[in-house]
């Protein structure tokens, strides 16, 4: 296969991931093109790109518009497209459209995306590779037959079971069902939800492993058949199946991890995988038995922990692989010692069910620094939390030599944030840092449900902010009304 150097890359995404990709593109000395919808006109990533192309009024629809993106790539003279995560990142049609337009798609080929994007097909591939999968059905037929099939599955494997969107991802389109009665209520709802979220109404049923750990293996695969892993990530701490905090590597015995690496590479090989991908497993918290869950054919939000741990720039490798280069990172160059953890600093109120603080303005923004701190963010003083998009302001990735040092650093760095305006997840993460089970590195996907005390953190206004309020008042009134 011939190598073809990429000159200019269009980033078909927005926000922090557009900025993340852009940084590596710049490092490589290649041209960086970004696209944006009208509501993103003030976004930070646009300022740093060589070319920024307005693709529509939005919101969201234009980032999902394959034709517009291809048009922007042509217009800017880009010869490759990086899809980031979300939007068109796992859309096989998009990958295919790029190929047809003569653009290099920085990601897997369309057939692979299509196969792995379908959960049922993906499970079959894994099974063929000899990996245990969680017992589940194929796509459930519509109507009575589907309900009957699900009920039969429930009787065979016991409740609870999960209903999942066949085209789902990112934690969406998942429902837990606790009884037959519950199943009949939720089945039509799940199908409806799936249809609106993924434009595909297929769903399937799967056995529910109670309070498992969610562990994933990052892999890289080149076009020459070389596949390597970059270690594991523990993404167990979630709310409603959305990841909140990710750790690399997972706290598992070496033999279990080795088995998972082998399984992940086998699955990728079986799928004919190319580029960066993630194989997700559910791990029994006690027996450490693991089952293949799904394979994500994109760059993950939490890829930063793997980068900080291993020292490998995954985006750089993605581009090299897309250029047809050989994956030649020496195994010994990849560090798997120490710990890295990523937290998502969102403009959300954790106490109010993580309600986004859309529309609020960040009056003051001060970020931490120092040893072991990496920030990937979009926020700045004056930043308006968008109502149109997600509320992620900055991802902070902390690197330490062991777990204890990593949480000490995490806590220290979190205390270094000063964000005035919207409520944020910072105090919530600070509360987690002080929680004994977390400190002992003991958690599973039920962590937040079983540790509700975390939400009791105090609302603390800085003492100096209070004093400043009075000084401003004395200044504005020209006299201190509380002194005379």
């Amino acid at each position: 296969m011939k190598e073809k150097a990429i000159r200019k890359i269009l980033i078909a995404n927005r926000g922090e991931i557009a900025l993340r990709i852009l940084r590596t593109v710049k490092e490589l000395g290649k041209g960086a093109v970004v696209v944006y919808e009208k509501p993103d006109s003030e976004a930070y990533y646009i300022r740093l790109a060589d070319t920024a192309i307005l693709i529509g009024e939005g919101p969201r629809c234009d980032y999902l518009d394959i034709e517009r993106i291809i048009w922007a790539a042509r217009k800017s003279g880009a010869d490759a497209i990086h899809p980031g995560y979300g939007f068109l990142a796992e859309n096989a049609d998009f990958s295919e459209a790029c190929e047809k337009a003569g653009l290099i798609f920085i990601g897997p080929p369309p057939g692979v995306i299509r196969d792995l994007g379908n959960k049922v097909v993906a499970r079959r591939i894994a099974a063929q590779a000899g990996i245990d999968t969680i017992p589940g059905t194929g796509d459930l037929p519509r109507g009575e037959d589907g309900a009957a099939a699900a009920l039969k599955f429930g009787r065979e494997h016991g409740y609870p079971i999960m209903l999942k969107a066949s085209s789902g991802g990112g934690g969406r389109g998942i429902r837990k069902v606790v009884s037959e009665k519950d199943l009949l209520v939720q089945l039509p709802l799940a199908r409806q939800e799936t249809l609106s979220a993924f434009n595909d109404e297929n769903i399937y049923a799967e056995k529910c492993v109670e309070a498992p750990r969610h562990v994933e293996i990052q892999i890289l695969a080149d076009r020459h058949g070389r596949i390597m892993h970059l270690g594991s990530r523990d993404c167990s701490i979630q709310r409603r199946h959305q990841k909140l905090l990710e750790i690399a590597p997972a706290n598992l015995p070496a033999d279990v991890l080795e088995a998972m690496y082998a399984a992940a590479i086998a699955a990728a090989r079986q799928a004919g995988y190319v580029n960066a991908g993630t194989v997700e497993f559910l791990v029994d918290a006690h027996s450490h038995a693991f089952w293949f869950m799904e394979m994500n054919t994109r760059l993950q939000v939490e890829h930063t922990v793997t980068e900080e741990l291993t020292g490998v720039d995954i985006v750089r490798e993605q581009i090299r692989i897309a250029e047809g280069q050989v994956l030649d990172i020496p195994r010994e160059r990849i560090h798997l010692m120490g710990k890295a953890v990523q937290v998502r600093i969102n403009a959300e109120d954790p106490k109010n069910n993580f309600m986004p603080e859309g529309g609020k303005r960040v009056e003051v923004y001060q970020s931490p620094g120092g040893p072991g701190v990496r920030l990937d963010g979009v926020v700045y003083q004056g930043y308006r939390v968008p109502t149109e998009y997600d509320s992620l302001m900055v991802k902070m990735t902390i690197r330490g030599y062991n777990w204890e040092q990593t949480i000490q650093r995490l806590k220290r760095a979190l205390q270094g944030f000063l964000i005035v305006g919207p409520a944020t997840t910072v105090p919530f993460y600070l509360a987690i840092c002080d929680e004994p089970d977390f400190q002992a590195e003991r958690f599973d996907t039920g962590y937040l449900d079983t540790h509700q005390d975390i939400f009791q953190y105090p609302e603390q206004e800085r003492e100096v902010a209070k004093l400043a309020k009075l000084i401003a008042e004395i200044h504005a009134r020209k006299v201190n009304p509380f002194a005379y």
């Binding site: 009075l470 401003a472 004395i474 200044h475 020209k478």
Partner: protein
């Protein structure tokens, strides 16, 4: 060398008191070769600076004052407990905690009004006991008095001070006139000793700075003759400029402790300059025990620079006032009296009020002691008599309670029948018969009070907060809410706290907060929002931060500028337009809208100068509208209520 070492050993410290107990400490004072000095900063602040000396200033000189070797620092009590919350926005208990951490070797002293504690009216017994226990954590010397020298009014405090292991200092309030003989005071001391036993300090409390040096010397000698082992603490005010003479006379006749304060802050109505007294007495052969002269000078050198920030709070009348011997106002009330006169627009009538009406009222009402709350009763009555043109009309409840004997017996004589008739009307004898007698205050349910407080502040209350609430409920709640919003502002310098006219662009302050963190705040530009509110940009720790201050509509400010004379207000009252004649706070509105009222009926009760004043209907009619609510501040001429005659 030996003198110095010996002096250090003669110091009395809190550790000393804890280790050796009250009796041994009293012995140490009794047998000391010389006398001790109390720095009465609280009285200085109250008499000459309207109680405004800020914690920032007190902390600034804490090391020097701690080194000075005073017998004690009077730092709380009197009106300061109230003003700490009301105008300094600091918990008086936290103030003591913070200061004691910075002055670990100095005894703290308080002035307690017996049954009236640090307020103006009698408190329930369980509140008194709780309050004394709470303050006694930081206060080692308890000066206790009653404005009628009525000992039962002080007993609960005596007991709790004893229980806490603190030094008890009962007072005889001193005044002048035919009744105020040595024999009377010596007898009073005997009555006190009967209740307390001999392990006390005795205070001669000369709150007005009355009498000549010879008079004070004679009184001390008379008490010492009858009770030779009694340790006498002389307290005086320098209103007439002669207190140094009285201090010297007291010591020469055997007083063992005197009151004075830092020379850089001394004014006209408070204590005399400490060092001057010490120097005169040294020449007379009396040494101040344990005192470090240089530390006293160092403290004043620091305080001199601060005094300019307090200029607004010095009296409107500067200069000594020898006529205090006529009007007998206590030093602690002189400044606020003049403040009232200025705000009420009757400053020009002050000579008449002070030199004629006040002494007349004083004599008519029994020639007892003009000190809180009696001084307020005398002053308010005299002012009303002059401003209303009719004597003893619309008497306030405090005067009525006093005349009914509810605060205790008249020490010398009862007011004349004609005054009872002027105050209570023709039926005065029946009223006196029915309502007269000593008032026993029932204990209150502290659990209920705590619930009410917690409801008002919206969270659980600490023990200290409950204690503050029980002193002055509304002001304590306001303070607690203030602190929740603005933090611990006692760290601010008087230059920031009292600044008028706003700060300059680029002004920069370094502020260590109450938790020890150092902050830098720089004043940036200010703009107005469309709604008239102010947005101030402050650079806080190098980061610009916009801060919104909600401003009242401009019109609301201007409206208050309309002024009325007392005569106009009276004329309006006859039309049913009831307006305030004084500056004060609405305490109670005993009528409801729509209620039928008759002339003479109480419509509104206003609190001013710590006294309750009734606003009565001039005409009969129906209450059409009530324009104020309890807690509202009103100025002279502010509309209160409308009465319609249909």
């Amino acid at each position: 060398m030996t003198r110095q070492t010996q002096d250090k050993d003669m110091r009395i410290t809190p550790q000393d008191l804890r280790r050796r107990g009250v009796r041994e400490i009293l012995d140490k004072i009794r047998h000391a070769d010389g006398y001790y000095v109390t720095n009465t900063e609280r009285d200085l602040s109250q008499s000459d600076f309207k109680n405004r000396i800020m914690p920032h200033t007190q902390l600034l000189v804490a090391p020097q004052r701690n080194d000075a070797g005073f017998f004690s620092l009077e730092i709380t009590g009197g009106a300061s407990v109230h003003v700490d919350m009301l105008r300094k926005q600091m918990s008086p208990l936290e103030k003591l905690e913070v200061l004691s951490a910075n002055m670990p070797d100095t005894l703290f002293q308080t002035l307690c009004r017996g049954i009236n504690l640090f307020g103006y009216r009698p408190y329930p017994d369980n509140v008194i006991r709780l309050t004394v226990r709470s303050f006694a954590r930081w206060v080692h010397v308890w000066r206790v008095f009653d404005f009628l020298n009525h000992i039962p009014n002080m007993v609960s405090v005596f007991e709790e001070v004893r229980e806490a292991g603190a030094i008890l200092e009962p007072s005889i309030c001193f005044s002048t006139g035919p009744e105020h003989t040595d024999a009377y005071y010596v007898r009073k001391v005997g009555e006190i000793l009967e209740v307390t036993g001999e392990d006390i300090l005795l205070c001669i409390k000369n709150h007005g700075g009355l009498g000549t040096p010879r008079r004070i010397g004679a009184l001390v000698a008379a008490i010492r003759e009858r009770y030779p082992d009694l340790v006498i603490h002389y307290h005086g005010h320098n209103t007439d400029g002669a207190d140094l003479g009285r201090v010297v006379a007291a010591v020469k006749n055997g007083a063992k402790i005197i009151d004075a304060s830092d020379h850089a802050l001394t004014g006209f109505y408070g204590p005399p300059p400490l060092l001057t007294a010490v120097d005169i007495l040294r020449d007379e052969g009396h040494e101040a025990v344990g005192l470090d002269r240089q530390a006293v000078i160092d403290a004043s050198n620091l305080l001199r620079g601060e005094r300019e920030h307090y200029r607004d709070f010095e009296s409107q009348f500067l200069g000594f006032d020898p006529t205090v011997q006529i009007h007998k106002l206590p030093g602690g009330a002189t400044g606020s009296s003049f403040e009232q006169a200025v705000k009420g627009g009757f400053l020009h009538r002050m000579p008449h009020i002070l030199q004629q009406e006040l002494p007349l009222v004083h004599t008519e009402l029994g020639n007892w002691w003009s000190v809180t709350p009696g001084s307020q009763i005398l002053w308010t009555t005299a002012v009303n008599n002059v401003l209303k043109g009719a004597r003893y009309r619309d008497a306030n409840d405090d005067l009525k309670n006093l005349m009914l004997g509810r605060y205790g017996d008249f020490p010398f004589y009862r007011p004349a029948d004609s005054i009872y008739e002027a105050v209570f009307g023709k039926e005065w004898k029946t009223i006196l018969e029915r309502d007269g007698g000593y008032q026993r205050i029932e204990d209150i349910d502290l659990a209920v009070e705590r619930k009410v407080l917690e409801h008002r502040i919206g969270r659980a209350a600490t023990e200290d907060e409950l204690v503050l609430y029980l002193q002055h409920p509304n002001d304590a709640v306001n303070f607690i809410k203030f602190e929740a919003k603005y933090g611990k502002t006692w760290v601010l310098s008087p230059d920031i706290w009292f600044r008028k006219g706003g700060y300059g662009l680029g002004d920069k302050f370094e502020i260590p907060d109450a938790f020890g963190r150092l902050h830098a705040i720089e004043i940036g530009p200010q703009r107005r929002t469309k709604t008239g509110d102010a947005v101030t940009y402050l650079v806080i720790d190098h980061h610009p931060e916009p801060i919104l201050t909600e401003m009242e509509a401009e019109g609301a400010q201007v409206k208050k500028k309309v002024t009325f004379t007392p005569r106009e207000i009276e004329a309006l009252a006859k039309t049913g337009d009831i307006r305030s004649q004084i500056i004060g706070t609405v305490s109670e509105v005993p009528v409801a809208e729509g209620e039928e009222v008759s002339a003479g009926q109480v419509l509104i009760v206003l609190e001013a100068m710590k006294m309750l004043n009734n606003v009565v209907a001039e005409i009969s009619g129906r209450v059409a509208e009530i324009l104020v609510a309890p807690g509202d501040r009103v100025e002279v001429g502010d509309p209160l209520l409308l009465v319609r005659t249909d």
